[in-house]
């Protein structure tokens, strides 16, 4: 059963990657196209919010890729282009939200939970160990 699940999972992975490559390259400049692809995988398509800009077929995603190409040709840096998009669509357009006051809990919350969980586990295990000792002494 477990093997089957792993097999299905691997199969799905295969398809996921197969589809990810399907954003149509228009430009004949492979270096620029590679840069666009790397960058647009970090950006969200706002129309279909769970896809990246790289693999969305929405007309807006198409337009934005076109715009990014134009700006890349004009010599803009990746950071400048991301800033351009964030100024218009907000931080939501980035798949990696920036670390700031609003997103602090998002970034550090999981570690905090891990710490709390670890502490509770430590307490419980220690208590159990102590109980075990007491029982052992009783016997």
């Amino acid at each position: 059963m477990k093997k089957l699940m792993i097999l299905i999972f691997l199969f799905m992975q295969f398809f996921a990657t197969a589809y990810a490559g399907e954003a149509k390259p228009i430009s004949d400049d492979p270096a620029l196209e590679a840069r666009l692809k790397a960058m647009s995988q970090e950006l969200r398509c706002l129309v279909c919010q769970n896809s990246t800009l790289a693999d969305s077929d929405a007309p807006l995603a198409e337009d934005l890729r076109k715009e990014i190409r134009t700006q890349m040709r004009a010599g803009k840096s990746d950071q400048e282009i991301v800033d351009y998009l964030v100024a218009r669509y907000g931080d939501f357009v980035r798949y990696r939200p920036p670390v700031n006051n609003v997103t602090a809990i998002l970034w550090f919350g999981p570690f905090l939970l891990l710490l709390v969980g670890g502490f509770i586990m430590y307490r419980v295990l220690k208590k159990q160990a102590n109980d075990g000792d007491i029982q052992a002494e009783d016997e």
Partner: protein, 177 residues
């Protein structure tokens, strides 16, 4: 730690989590807060629909409070919104320009003939460039721009009478319109 507390703490944590998740159910994930609210509306110059050779310059709107309604003939939700826009136009309370987003001029004109034209002017954005500058991602979208050219409010999706009453009208009062 006593027994009741041991029982209560997880329960309280659980209820807090339920509270957050319930709230999440009622949020609309399509409504992404626009970073443009409170910022100057992007300037643009573009052809006016049905007025060949004439250009609309957003700078000419300085000194007036106005609405920019982004729509398209291919957008079904825009048709749902249309009757309300017609009602708004009747009141003549505020200048409302339309932005025909990624539309064919003839198609846009067809809709306005068939359903009526609530707009003072319709600006054409055939390649969607103005749309990108305004962060448009789901038509219809409506922007309220004040006398200084600052975007004061943005609504994503069709306007409703509730939105008008609770959001737009109070803002208009604040802006002395």
């Amino acid at each position: 730690m006593n027994r009741t507390l041991k029982f209560l703490i997880p329960l309280i944590l659980f209820l807090v989590a339920v509270g957050f998740l319930t709230k999440g159910l009622f949020l609309n994930p399509r409504e992404v807060p626009s970073p443009l609210v409170g910022k100057p509306a992007p300037a643009f110059t573009a052809p006016i629909l049905g007025e060949a050779g004439k250009q609309f310059n957003s700078a000419d709107m300085k000194g007036q409070v106005w609405l920019l309604n982004v729509w398209a003939s291919w957008c079904a939700a825009c048709r749902d919104e249309h009757p309300l826009l017609m009602d708004m136009a009747q009141t003549k309370r505020i200048v409302m320009h339309g932005l025909a987003y990624k539309d064919v001029d003839a198609d846009a004109q067809q809709v306005l003939i068939a359903m009526g034209n609530p707009y003072n002017k319709v600006i054409t954005d055939t390649d969607g460039k103005i749309g990108i500058d305004y962060g448009v991602y789901g038509v219809p979208e409506t922007y309220l721009i004040d006398k200084a050219g600052i975007i004061r409010y943005k609504h994503i999706g069709p306007l409703t009478p509730e939105i008008l009453l609770t959001k737009v009208v109070p803002l208009l009062k604040e802006l002395d319109v």
